[in-house]
Assembly symmetry: C2
Homo-oligomer: 155 residues x 2
DNA sequence: CTAGTTGCAAAGAGTTTGCATGGCG
DNA sequence: CGCCATGCAAACTCTTTGCAACTAG
């Protein structure tokens, strides 16, 4: 993988380490900047944006556009080994990449990986000639917590 | 369905008619405003936003946040009869309501109904206690046409 | 020394809100 | 007349760019 001179600065490494430490959970740029500010190592928003951009382009992170309570914003997550750059090349073969579940009530974003779905991109490609990009697909609905809360106290 | 007094103004009706005429294709607010300007019946951006907001809330339109070449923006599409409000009531029973496939290249919106997916909401509910709202879920990717175009002339 | 990085400030783009005007019942 | 729709302007949020100071090799 191409690695330009001087790329591994403190900030660059810190950002990569941080999103990697989240194990696939999503963060916004603001949350990342906030994290580093709170640990006494502030990183400018601009810098965070630029590094995430690099990481996304090199396949080490993924970017989603998501709707939140107050408008929309980008969310980033670490791209784990098996669903990185090379997924693009073999997506039509049925990548195992996970889907996402977003709770419309509480906003929780969950990972969804189950047997039915792991074969879905392949099936859809075979039956509909449509190549699904799992990483950009989000299922909307209600999570278990909100469902049980509703059951106790109907809306 | 509740219909407040004075709701059917010229602008309101024009916007609904327009997105309905697109047969499920998506448009941005700017495109809608541009359309009405070009036909000699300009509607202010604010008004477009407000009417779309109403339409989304009443279930006659759906809003997606999408990534474009120059940043992200909301896109709207007409909500057809069969994937409207009543899906909510029986989603947890494993509704047969179809999903949508949206081509990121050409914007085509396809209906997706296959055996794997018809049982998906039920499976996900059983395994993850998450109730999927099929009508709000869109799979992103590339349609057959764009795939074959890419094959001929790689990007 | 040189090339690349950093981050403030300012510019952009899309969306929402405040408010005065105007149309329709 | 009274209520609500309309749309301009301004506010807001998130993101990107310009630029001068700085850092690492």
């Amino acid at each position: 993988m191409k690695r330009p001179t001087g790329y591994n600065t403190k900030q660059s490494q810190a950002i990569l380490d941080y999103i990697a430490s989240l194990g696939g959970s999503h963060v916004t740029v603001g949350q990342i900047a906030g994290h580093f500010e709170s640990i006494g190592f502030p990183i400018g928003l601009t810098t965070v944006y630029r590094h995430l951009d690099k990481l996304v382009r090199s396949g080490r992170a993924r970017r989603y556009i998501m709707e939140g309570v107050s408008g929309s914003c980008y969310q980033y997550e670490y791209a784990e080994e098996d669903i990185g750059v090379d997924v693009h090349a073999r997506a039509h073969e049925g990548s195992a990449g996970h889907f996402h579940l977003k709770c419309e009530d509480c906003g929780a974003l969950l990972h969804l990986q189950c047997e039915v779905l792991s074969g879905l991109p392949k099936r859809v490609y075979e039956e509909h000639s449509f190549r699904i990009d799992a990483s950009k697909t989000v299922f909307y609905g209600k999570c278990a917590d909100c469902l049980s809360r509703d059951a106790e106290r109907p809306p």
